[in-house]
Structure formats: C-alpha cells, structure tokens
C-alpha cells in the first residue's frame, strides 16, 4: 500500500501530494484489535505508547451511534459508565471480525446471532447489512465506516499528543486477513485521512520488537552476537489467532512460517454463551429491547466468568434474562475447556502446522516462545503452546498486550527513514506471504503460483495451455487461498481477466505464461502472456496483460459462480505437461 494507490480516494491523493513537505514525519503504529486498540510512536529514542485523556494505553474498540451531536463517538474519547452501555444495540464493535467478509461467511453468521446490534445475512455472497439502534430505530452503517470513525478519533488523539498533523501509519493486521480485507481497511484509513505506509501481520511486528531486544541484549554482552535465535510467536486476541516461526540474528528477523485463523476470545465467549443458554440464537432473534438487554447481561456475565476461570478453578454464574428465565450455575475449568475443545484443537494445529512448514526440525530448536495477546493468559492455551514446544517458560521480555503496536511503531520509524545514533533502529523483519495465490485451472482446481511462506518481495511464474482445440481466449481467475485447513479449502476470489488473441491451434499447444509479483509494498500484480512454441519468435503474440489485484469489489462472492454459469469451461486453462514424456 504505497503511494501507488493514492489516486483512488481524494483524501489519499492529498496525502501523496504533501508527502514531500512532511519528509520528517514519523509514521505512527496502530494496532486495531477486535476488542482493544492502541497507538505508539518512535519518540526519537524509544517507542512510546500514546495515552488518551483518561490515561489509557489500551482503548476499547467500539463506536456508539446516537442522535444528538457530536455523533457518533468511539471508544477513544467516550467514557462508558458501564459495560452494558456498549451492549445496548447503539454501539457497533467486533468490526475486525466483520470487515471485508461476505454474508455467506460462517464468522458473520455467528456474529449475527450473538452480537446485540443488527447484522442481516442473506447468504448470497454479498456484503452483510449492519445497523445500530438509535432512538428505537435501526440505522444502517458499514464496517468500513465504523472503523473510519474510530480511526478519526485515534488520529485526533495522536495529533493532540504529538502536536503535529498525522498522516502516515503502520497498521498491524492478523495473518489470516485476506487481501480483500486489507483493501477494506485501507479504505477506512483513507476515509479517516490516514495513509497506510505498511500493513504488518501482527507476528511480523512482534518479530521486529524481538529483533530489537535481542540486538540490545547482545550489545551489552558482546558474546555470541552473531548466533541465530529461533522464536515461535503465538498471538491470540479476541478476534484472531496467529502463529509464526522466526529466525533472528543481528537485528534481522526472517519469518520462516506464518499461519493464522479467525479464532479468538470471541469464539470462547460465544461457545460459552451457547452452553449457558442453548437456545440463545432463536430466543434473541427478534432483537427487541428486552432481547438486547438480556444479550448484554449474558455477554457481560460470561466474559467475567471466563476471565475468572484463568485464575480460579470454578466460577458461579447467576443472571436474570427476563421473562422468568434465570441462569444459575457453576462452571469449572474442566467444563470450560470441554466447551471450547475445538478452539483449543485449532490453536494446537496452527502451531504444529507452522512448526512443520518452517522446517525447524525439532521443537527443541526453538529458543524462545513468545506469547502475545489477551487470550494467552488462559492457562489451557499457554499449556498447549508450551507443550508442543516442549518448554516450561515463555519469553518474558515483552508486554503481551503492547508487543504488536510497539513493533508497528518501530516499523513506522524504519519506513520513515529515521536513523538512531545508538543503532536501536538497525532492524529489519523479512516478511513472507501468509496465503497462497493462484488461478483456477485443470478443471475446477486451484493451482497455486505463489505459495504461502514465500519470502517477499516475490515473483513466480507458471505455464498453462488451452483446454480446447482452437481456443482463442482464456480466462484467468485469481484466487487467494484461505488457510483454514480443517474446513474445506476456502478460496477467495481476487479478480479475473481474459487473455485474448491466442492463435488457433490444437489444445495443449499455445503456452500461456501466468506471472505473479508481490512487490515490497505488498502490491500484487498478475501478468499473463501467450507464446506459440515453434513459431520462431521469442516474443509474445499479443501484448501482455498486467492487472493489479484485488480487482473484485463488494459482492465478489457472487462473481465466481456467475463466471462459471455464463462461461462454463469454454475459456479454461490446464497446467502444461511435459511434452517430452507425453
């Protein structure tokens, strides 16, 4: 997301224009969490977290819609008199789990059943309808808008503290975020007048912080400063879980493997709520004032119970949900772990998968296990991760709630060209791609061209050929592969275009070269060209195509089906087999 996207939105292009004047501006780091947000900036000698007027470093992520002015307000400036205020239907939260998702997404479905505001899903592959309750009326909004409103508050806070305009930001994102979701977040930033200098997967930000700490550690002790340390980062917050393996030496962290999933504290909460009130989905479906109130009571009580279960063996729940329904029972740790068995299994599988793909031969080779995010306080989760890594102690050098934003602020300083005379910015994280990107070919299969865990920037190409005799056009449909290994493979449409002008020939003869390029600013471009073998010329027969992705917009869930319905297999491609052996 460098200046190249600048022209798409007015406020963004403005940013580009004034960039030269603001040469010395240091980009700030922002961690937008599902539950909490934080801001940090390099202050000239170290990273400093920016506090709001109530002296908070971590601010709740929500936006309240209301009638009177100023309207609406977010969790940066607003003071909640009680948690219930957030659950009255007028506040929108959990946006990080909703942004850029379609109404066919199970995550959106779960949210629509359990959140107190309105999420309507029609299950057709379009954007869900979201609304907040204002004066007993549902008023529509969008996840992008809510995030933008929140970002405006963050921006104002940063400007007040730093006493200068703030435009450039480094934003941390979950590894599981799709490229489409990134475009939505970038859109929110543009709406808020912010320019995204970099999106950083949360583990990559943590890796940068870790690199800095290791560098400083070795500076003091001089001994074995060159030795490489292998770290495993496990990050789980309210919305997402990320795992990464990194190799760090001399201030440089090379990411070895990265995996993530949309699984987090919110899932633990939803599962436990369903356990307490098994019929909650239907019971609260009408979203009347009574239902919303009951949902709020249930949510707050469950949340508190889960927190307590991290420190005590059992907890008493006693709540009145109205209409004569009372929930009064004791939950112990064992029961809690049983309810959430699948969540814990998923976390374990992410860690093992990451270890396997990093080619770190044995868990024993891991020097440090770095736990980040609120959920890592849960004893069961900690035990799972430490157990797989065969370690007793996790890395204690970082604050698990601030690590990501601190890393983002470091990256902000690096990307703004700041030099530190003491060498504490002599750092780098070499990033990898979290998802495979490929095209549809060989019938209805996904053929990856850039695999996940490929070091960035990256360029890969692959040869395809026609599926039919005298086929003159081919459709290139580009997908990103979701990494949910347990469910069926999720492929997300990024865009599509046609290659035309293929000279008539028997099937299997024309060579269609598809090349994918991810540049340093994580911009994906897909190129395609046609070559006729044996034609004597080494040049492509028609001009090459170059398409920046994603091109798909909202409602892209419909596109793939529509393409298939209207074109069938007439424009198909197949991977090129070895002609020598054929």
């Amino acid at each position: 997301m460098s200046e190249e996207v600048g022209y798409t939105v007015a406020s963004d292009s403005e940013t580009t224009a004034t960039k030269e004047e603001l040469e010395t501006e240091i980009a700030i780091g922002i961690d937008i969490g599902t539950c909490q947000c934080s801001l940090a900036v390099w202050n000239g000698s170290e990273v400093e977290l920016i506090r709001n007027t109530r002296n908070q470093k971590l601010m709740k992520s929500y936006v309240t819609f209301r009638d009177q002015s100023p309207s609406p307000v977010g969790g940066v400036t607003n003071q909640l008199s009680h948690e219930y205020d957030m659950l009255s239907g007028s506040s929108i939260f959990n946006m990080k789990r909703l942004i850029g998702r379609l109404d066919t997404d199970p995550i959106v479905h779960q949210a629509s059943n359990t959140l107190p505001f309105l999420i309507q899903t029609l299950g057709i592959g379009a954007k869900p309808f979201i609304a907040a309750l204002v004066n007993n009326m549902w008023r529509s909004t969008t996840p992008e808008e809510v995030v933008a409103i929140y970002l405006v508050e963050l921006k104002a806070l940063a400007e007040a503290r730093l006493k200068r305009p703030v435009r450039d930001v480094v934003l941390t994102v979950p590894a599981a975020f799709s490229r489409f979701q990134l475009t939505r977040i970038a859109r929110s930033c543009a709406m808020a007048g912010l320019h995204v200098l970099r999106f950083m997967p949360e583990p990559a930000a943590v890796a940068l912080l870790y690199a800095q700490q290791q560098l400083q550690l070795h500076k003091d002790s001089i001994a074995d400063s060159g030795s490489e340390k292998i770290g495993l980062i496990f990050n789980m917050g309210a919305g997402y879980c990320d795992v990464a393996i990194i190799a760090t030496a001399g201030g440089v962290s090379q990411m070895k493997a990265l995996a993530g999933s949309c699984i987090g504290g919110e899932d633990l909460l939803q599962n436990t709520m369903h356990h307490l009130v098994p019929d909650m989905d239907t019971r609260f479906a009408s979203r009347g004032l009574e239902e919303i109130k009951a949902m709020g009571i249930l949510r707050v009580a469950t949340q508190e119970a889960i927190h307590k279960l991290s420190f005590q063996p059992s907890v008493q729940i006693d709540i009145d949900l109205g209409n004569g329904t009372r929930v009064c029972r004791v939950i112990d740790v064992q029961e809690f772990e049983e309810i959430n068995k699948r969540v814990f299994e998923k976390c374990a599988s992410l860690v093992t998968q990451c270890l396997h793909e990093s080619k770190v031969a044995k868990p024993e080779y891991i020097d440090d296990v770095i736990l980040v995010g609120g959920c890592t306080n849960i004893p069961k989760l900690k035990n799972i991760v430490m157990g797989i890594c065969k370690r007793n102690e996790n890395y204690s050098g970082i604050n698990s709630l601030e690590a990501a934003v601190r890393g983002a602020a470091l990256e902000g300083a690096l990307a703004s060209g700041v030099n530190d005379p003491f060498g504490s910015l002599d750092l780098l994280t070499i990033q990898i791609n979290a998802h495979s990107i490929g095209i549809r070919a060989d019938g209805n299969s996904f053929v990856p061209i850039i695999d996940r865990n490929t070091t960035l920037p990256a360029r890969r190409e692959m040869l395809f050929t026609t599926a039919h005799d005298n086929q003159t056009e081919a459709l290139i449909v580009v997908y990103e592969q979701g990494d949910d290994h347990e469910k069926q493979q999720q492929q997300l449409l990024l865009g599509y275009f046609k290659v035309v002008g293929i000279p008539p020939a028997a099937k299997g003869v024309p060579e269609i070269n598809v090349c994918m390029d991810i540049d340093a600013s994580n911009m994906l471009r897909v190129m395609a060209g046609v070559v006729m073998p044996g034609s004597g010329t080494k040049n492509p027969v028609v001009p090459l195509m170059e398409v920046r992705m994603p091109t798909a917009d909202d409602g892209h869930g419909l596109c793939a089906d529509a393409l298939y319905r209207s074109l069938g297999s007439t424009l198909d491609l197949v991977t090129l087999h070895n002609k020598l052996n054929a």
Binding site: S436, S445, E461, D519, E546
Partner: protein, 269 residues
C-alpha cells in the same frame, strides 16, 4: 512504478527475472509446492514425476530472452562503467562501498560472489544466513523507503536477487544445477535417464513409501534417501571439481530422484 507500465511489455515481465533461467524458479517452486501443499497432492502428483523442471529447450522463450535483453531493456540500464551512479567512485558492488547507495543489478555478479564464496559445490553450513541478513539490512526495500525512486527500484531488484541467491545456494540440488549453468551446461535430468536399474530402484522405493503404514517405516526410508543424497552430492562435488560434467549431470539426476522421494515421505509424515 508507472515507469514499468509504459515500458515495452518485455521489460515488465523481465524486471526481476535474473540471469538464471526461469526453469530454475520453476524447480524451486515445485519443491516448495510439493512440500507446502499437501492438500493439493492429487493435483501435483504428476508434477513431481512428469513435469520437466529443468529443460534444455526452455518453454518461455520470451522470458528466457531476458538474459540477453537484461542490459538493454532500458529498465536495468546498467552502464558498463563500474562507477557508482551517485558518487562516481569505482568501489561498487551491490551497494557502493563509499557512499552506501544501492546499485543497479549487475548480472555478471553471480550468486557465489554475492555471498563471498568460491564457485564450488561444498559450502560451509550456516555461513549463508548471516551474510544474507547483512545484505538485506543494506538492500531491503523496507529500509530505503525515503531514498529516490530509482534507488528504491534498484533495492527491490537487488533484494529479490539476494533472496533468489540465498534459496538457490542453500539447497544442494539447486546449487548443483546453478553451478552447472554457470559453466554453461543446462541440466535436463528427465530426458536422459534410461538406466533400468535406477528406474527400478526408484519404483521400488516409491512403492515402499506408498505402502508404509507407520511413521517409523517412513523415517527408515527417509534416512536411506538422505544417505543416498549425501552420497550423490559428494559424487557431484568430485565430478564438478574435476570438470567431468557428464558424471556431474548423472549425479544431479539421481539427487533429483531421491529428493522427490524424500518430498513424498515428508508429505506423508
């Protein structure tokens, strides 16, 4: 970036296609894919056995031509003077030693020189990573964000090339093929294998892998394969050292076979 759009299309595609032919990338990709994509095993079974990964007659003719176009495509306009574009001193390599500016890619600098190594097969284990990270600290696009547009382009290319160099040199098989290419010998391990006993052996091992029911059995085969790989790596090193290229090609072909069996084992494990 716009520059690339208005350039002749070839330079767009060739910008980061470096002196080594594209087929090497395909091999690299093949290896990564078969290791990282267990879910597409059905899709890729044929590729591990049938698809040519290295071919004497490269299929992507127009990309291949980049090697010759490399210096004239306008984009990588390397003036053959050896001066730094910025300070005009002669001490330039990937970066200028006197002013620290990132230089345009010079394709005459091979991967071994980037890592300060002699052009031979045996390299010290673990010596690459440190040098790789050092280069990235000087070249990585993240760190030259505030420099001129030209220099940022150079950094992107140089950094990508160092990544390619690192992945190539790190893996014995890729390193062997690259060494041969530097000597002007393109390796096509598929085409010439006609020895029945080798093919028979490979068939047997494959069957054993397929039939293996527990991970211990797989691990046993794996250690056999690793032993074979070591043996043929040594044999390649010797053959290459004494410039008997036919023998070297033979070793590469065997390494490829055993390497693929190994991949299948990893997939099953």
């Amino acid at each position: 970036m716009w520059k690339t759009l208005i350039k002749p299309p070839i330079s767009t595609l060739t910008r980061r296609t470096l002196t080594h032919s594209i087929s090497l990338q395909l091999l690299e990709q093949n290896i990564i894919q078969s290791q990282n994509q267990p879910h597409f095993s059905t899709l890729y079974t044929f590729t591990t056995t049938e698809r040519p990964t290295i071919s004497k007659t490269p299929k992507i003719h127009f990309i291949r031509s980049s090697e010759f176009l490399g210096n004239t495509s306008g984009f990588c306009s390397v003036e053959e003077t050896s001066c730094c574009w910025n300070c005009k001193t002669q001490k330039r390599f990937l970066i200028c030693e006197s002013c620290g500016c990132v230089q345009p890619v010079d394709h005459s600098v091979d991967y071994f020189r980037i890592f300060g190594l002699e052009r031979k097969f045996d390299i010290e284990d673990g010596s690459l990573e440190g040098i790789y990270k050092n280069w990235q600290k000087k070249l990585h696009p993240d760190l030259v964000h505030t420099r001129s547009k030209e220099e940022r382009e150079y950094a992107a290319e140089q950094s990508a090339r160092v990544i390619d160099a690192y992945t190539t040199l790190r893996k014995p098989l890729l390193r062997a093929i690259y060494l041969m290419r530097l000597e002007g010998v393109e390796v096509d391990e598929e085409q010439t294998v006609s020895e029945p006993e080798l093919l028979g052996e490979i068939m047997e091992v494959r069957e054993a892998v397929e039939e293996a029911t527990d991970s211990q059995a797989l691990k046993n085969i794996q250690s056999q394969m690793e032993e074979k790989l070591r043996h043929w790596s040594n044999s390649f090193a010797n053959a290459f050292g004494s410039k008997s290229y036919d023998e070297a090609i033979k070793s590469i072909q065997r390494m490829t076979y055993y390497h693929r069996v190994n991949e299948e084992i990893v997939k099953k494990l």
